[in-house]
Structures are given as structure tokens and as C-alpha cells.
């Protein structure tokens, strides 16, 4: 008999639901829900990035907003130059802006990856609460930098007048843009699943379980963690790029510590270290915002209660309580 775990079935159901909901919404002529689903996919993608570092590597980064925001600003800056026909610089060669998503994504990922490399080089020398604080400090530095940088909007943020293009697709149609984000999310999940089952993934989890033991077999935990941190940041940076395109607007809010906290909430609500945890978490978050946000301004209060309940009673998050704990069999 084919051996499929409950978690796999649950994951497929989640992916399928996320894919189907916008189409149902369209058929009911409720296009608003398409945008809602797109937000779920983007938030989930940001969470997938953090989950790689947090769930598999045990790296509690409280600064992933930095990468989310850097990804967003990369898109905002490049697109605004392209739309204003102003090159970024003209000597020694002329560098034009661009409105091509594929190039924008690449730039967003490279820049967030580089930022993570630098942040990681410093912060990964620490662990525990110091790691949390250093990642937070770096993110706040970038946040205040963005606020005080008038060239790209400063505190007001930066508008992107036209949604960027994707080869052969009209990205202004919400369902098309949703399908793009959904595709990116699935690719990222596939990448994380592949990494998790590779030697790299085994060594990463080993580093979380015992550093000394890992170095005694010849692997330097620092290098593995740094690579993970960079990949994790690139995924979150890509989410930031998509978020900028969804709203056609970037602001320093994307970089603030609230955003770091929210990304962490997606991961914890859904289940730390579970492949589809961030997807479930982001969906729950948006649902909460939508349902309770319509009733009261203080919907975050109820979210806090749920988060408290998850942390106290359902450590595996939503995925954990539905699919059971990770079985060590």
C-alpha cells in the first residue's frame, strides 16, 4: 500500500484549497477574495523563508522584516527608475531600471541574500537571546535608514504606478498575479522540502541538536547556518518583492519589527519546522484579520489569545494538531 502520512494529505489539501478559493471567488464575482488569497500566498512565502532558519536550523531570527523590506524596496526602486526613465547611474555605464518581474525577483533575492550574509556573519556568532536581539537590531537599523532616505520616499514610502510585467501574462488581472505568487510559493516549498531531505538538511538539523557533535564529525556548524540564513533571507526577500507588486507600494513598515513578529507568528501558528506550517499560519492570520478585523479594531487581541493557546497547548501549531506530532518511528 502506498504509505502517505497524514501530514502529506493535509499539505495537499491546504495547497489545493489555496489554489481553488480564488477561482470560486471569481465565479461568485467576489474578486476581493483573490487579492486576499494572494496575500496569504505571499505571507506564507515569507514564512517559508523564516521557517527554514527557525524550524530546521533553530535560528530564531527576529529580523526577517529586513529581508522582506529589502526585497520590496529592490522592486520599488528599480521599477520607479524604469517608470521615470531615470537610470540608476550613468557612469561608468548606464544602468536603467526595469519592470520585468523575473529580473526584479532576481535582484530582490540577491540583495536580500547579501544583506543576510553580512547580518549572518555577525549575528551567527551568537546564539539564543543574543541572536534574537542582534537580528532585531540589524533590521531596525535598516528600518531607520529607509525612513531617513528621502530619495525613495522616506517615511511616506514609494509608489509603483504600474504592476511589473511577467513574460506572456497580464499581471494586472488579479487571478494571474495570484497564480504567479502561488507558483512561486510552491517552488519555494519544493526547494525547502528538497533541502530538508538532503545531506545539507541533515547536517543543519544536526547543528541544531548538538554543535560539538557535528564538529566532531568534521562539519563546521557556522558555515551550514550561514548558508541556511542566506537562503532563508532570499526566500523572504522574494516574498517582499511580490508584496511590493501586490500593493504597488513599498513603505518602511515592511521593514519594521512588527513585520518580523508577524512573519514569526505565521510560522508558530502553522507549526514550527513543518513544511506547510507557514501556509496554514498565514491563512489563519489573514482569516482572523478578515473575520475579526471586520468586527473590531482590536482583532489582534484575539489573535494574541489564539497564539497563546497554540504556544501553551498545541506546540506543533495548526499542522501539528491536525496531523499529529512529528513521529519518530
Amino acid at each position: 500500500m502506498l504509505n502517505v502520512s497524514r501530514e502529506t494529505i493535509l499539505n495537499c489539501l491546504l495547497a489545493l484549497t489555496l489554489l481553488v478559493v480564488p477561482f470560486i471567488a471569481l465565479s461568485l464575482d467576489e474578486p476581493f477574495y483573490v487579492t486576499l488569497a494572494t496575500r496569504v500566498a505571499i505571507y506564507a512565502l515569507a514564512g517559508v523563508g523564516l521557517n527554514l532558519a527557525l524550524g530546521l536550523g533553530g535560528l530564531i531570527s527576529f529580523g526577517h522584516a529586513a529581508f522582506f523590506g529589502i526585497g520590496g524596496y529592490a522592486v520599488g526602486i528599480l521599477a520607479s527608475h524604469a517608470l521615470n526613465y531615470e537610470p540608476h547611474f550613468s557612469s561608468p555605464f548606464e544602468l536603467e531600471g526595469t519592470t520585468q518581474m523575473l529580473i526584479l525577483w532576481l535582484v530582490a533575492m540577491i540583495v536580500s541574500g547579501l544583506a543576510a550574509l553580512i547580518i549572518g556573519l555577525f549575528s551567527l556568532r551568537t546564539s539564543g537571546v543574543y541572536f534574537i536581539m542582534i537580528t532585531l537590531a540589524f533590521a531596525q537599523m535598516i528600518y531607520y535608514f529607509a525612513i531617513s532616505w528621502p530619495a525613495y520616499g522616506g517615511e511616506d514610502g514609494l509608489s509603483i504606478y504600474v504592476r511589473n510585467g511577467f513574460p506572456g501574462v497580464n499581471t494586472l488581472i488579479p487571478i494571474n498575479f495570484f497564480l504567479i505568487t502561488f507558483g512561486v510559493l510552491m517552488s519555494a516549498l519544493f526547494l525547502v522540502a528538497t533541502l530538508r531531505n538532503s545531506r545539507f538538511g541533515a547536517a543543519l538539523q544536526a547543528a541544531r541538536q548538538n554543535e560539538d557533535r557535528l564538529s566532531a564529525v568534521g562539519i563546521k556548524p557556522f558555515n551550514i547556518r550561514l548558508a541556511t540564513f542566506v537562503i532563508s533571507a532570499m526566500i523572504t526577500g522574494l516574498a517582499g518583492a511580490l508584496f511590493a507588486d501586490l500593493n504597488r507600494f513599498v513603505s518602511p513598515n515592511m521593514l519594521s519589527w512588527h513585520t518580523s513578529g508577524e512573519i514569526m507568528v505565521f510560522v508558530i501558528l502553522g507549526g514550527v519546522g513543518r513544511l506547510f506550517g507557514p501556509v496554514a499560519g498565514a491563512a489563519l492570520f489573514i482569516l482572523f484579520e478578515f473575520i475579526f478585523g471586520g468586527l473590531t479594531e482590536h482583532w489582534m487581541f484575539f489573535l494574541g489569545l489564539v497564539l497563546l493557546a497554540v504556544v501553551l497547548f498545541a506546540r506543533g501549531g495548526l499542522i501539528g494538531s491536525l496531523a499529529g506530532k512529528v513521529r519518530y518511528d
Partner: protein, 229 residues
């Protein structure tokens, strides 16, 4: 026989308290050396110092022609020192297979050979290490060290706390390894098994080497004096 590992007069401290006061030992290529001594005499500290997990302050450790003093533990492991730490330390939340491949390096030892040495492991490939019995975890720890293709295998209390049947299996595998010419530095309390295997014995007392010689030279008198048996 050429010298593979030469430990000379090393001194190691834990904070302000000194644990090693000058340990000497050598392991030749293809040799099995037993490191003996009562509890608390510095056997595990000596091993930790060789592997770079504790830093020694005086003395030298030369492995395969390289001075290990400034090297971090992962580089020492890469030079070919494979440690099986005390207390069956596998990675508990990795499967048997993941434990074996995570640190594998190319060489003579492959998954197939580890499986041949410990057939039980292959039966439990997909199990998480923390669900294995003590003996199986010990086999996994040895297997994991072998997968790094070490020139020198260091076994710290590899048979401690195991059922007699399992112990025999582990001892048999150590004898098999010796027959293949694997250099081994071994710490164990079971003298009756250790003596026939060891080419050489080194006895520590209070952090110092107090006696070295072949197993044949290890008389009852010396055992009584240093090992309390």
C-alpha cells in the same frame, strides 16, 4: 610502524581547575591503543583535547604530521580523527540514514560496508535515532564515525551500559576493524575484552600518564595499583 598520533605532555584546564597534568601517548598506524585509568583520571579529557573539543594549554598533539594546537574541532575531524563520543551520542531527531550520511566523506567506508558491519542498522534506516535501543545507538555512533572515513577511530566507553549480548557484538566489530588495519584509540572498562585487542596500553592517573606498555606487560600488580581491579 610509523606514528599516527603523538600526544606529548599536554595540560588541559576546565576554567581555573587543571584536569590534565602531562599526558603522553602515541598511536601507530594500524595499532589499537587502550587508554585506561579509574574514573576521573582524565581519559575523556584527553580525548576531548585531541579532538579539539577542549583546548590544551601546554604540550603538543601531532596527528599524521600536523600539529593540532590551533585547529578547530571540525578541521581535526577532517584530517581523519573519527570520534565516537561517550554516551552514544547520535543526533536524536535524525533518522538512522540521515545520521550516517550527514557527515559522510568519501573513502573506503561506504553505507554498504557499515551495513555489513552492523546489519541491524539497515533494518532501522527510517527510524529516528532516539527510538533505537542503547546498543543500536552505539552501533550508529560507530557507524557514523566510520562514514567520515577516519584514519584514527577514537572510541570513548563504547560498550558502557549495554546488555552483554550487544557488548559482544560491539567487541566483535572492533576486532573486525582491527583485523582490517584500522588504527583505534579506545577507552573502556572491560579489561578482559580490552587486553586481548589492545597492542598497547596507556594508564592515566590524576591527569598524567603513569604507565605504558603492551598488554602482555600489564601485570595483575599494575592493574591493582592503577585500575583498582
Amino acid at each position: 610502524m610509523s606514528v599516527l598520533l603523538n600526544v606529548s605532555k599536554i595540560e588541559t584546564f576546565y576554567g581555573p581547575s587543571q584536569a590534565l597534568f602531562g599526558v603522553d601517548l602515541t598511536v601507530g598506524r594500524g595499532e589499537v591503543v587502550a587508554l585506561m585509568g579509574r574514573n576521573g583520571m582524565g581519559k575523556s579529557t584527553t580525548i576531548a583535547s585531541i579532538c579539539g573539543l577542549e583546548k590544551y594549554v601546554n604540550g603538543t598533539v601531532v596527528f599524521d604530521g600536523t600539529d593540532l594546537e590551533t585547529l578547530p574541532s571540525h578541521k581535526i575531524a577532517r584530517l581523519g580523527v573519527g570520534l565516537v563520543p561517550e554516551g552514544r551520542r547520535c543526533f536524536p531527531n535524525l533518522t538512522v540514514y540521515e545520521n550516517l550520511i550527514a557527515a559522510a566523506r568519501p573513502g573506503n567506508w561506504t553505507l554498504a560496508r557499515v551495513n555489513a558491519l552492523f546489519p541491524r542498522l539497515q533494518e532501522r534506516y527510517k527510524q529516528y535515532a532516539n527510538t533505537l535501543s542503547g546498543g543500536e545507538q552505539q552501533m550508529l555512533a560507530v557507524g557514523r564515525a566510520l562514514m567520515t572515513n577516519p584514519t584514527l577511530l577514537i572510541l570513548d566507553e563504547a560498550t558502557e551500559g549495554l546488555a552483554p549480548v550487544i557488548r559482544n557484538e560491539i567487541w566483535q566489530s572492533i576486532r573486525d576493524l582491527k583485523a582490517e588495519g584500522q588504527s583505534i584509540l579506545i577507552v573502556d572498562k572491560t579489561l578482559s575484552e580490552l587486553k586481548p585487542i589492545a597492542d598497547k596500553c596507556v594508564i592515566l592517573e590524576k591527569g598524567q600518564t603513569v604507565w605504558q606498555g603492551t598488554s602482555a606487560d600489564l601485570t595483575r600488580d599494575i592493574e591493582n595499583r592503577y585500575l583498582g581491579v
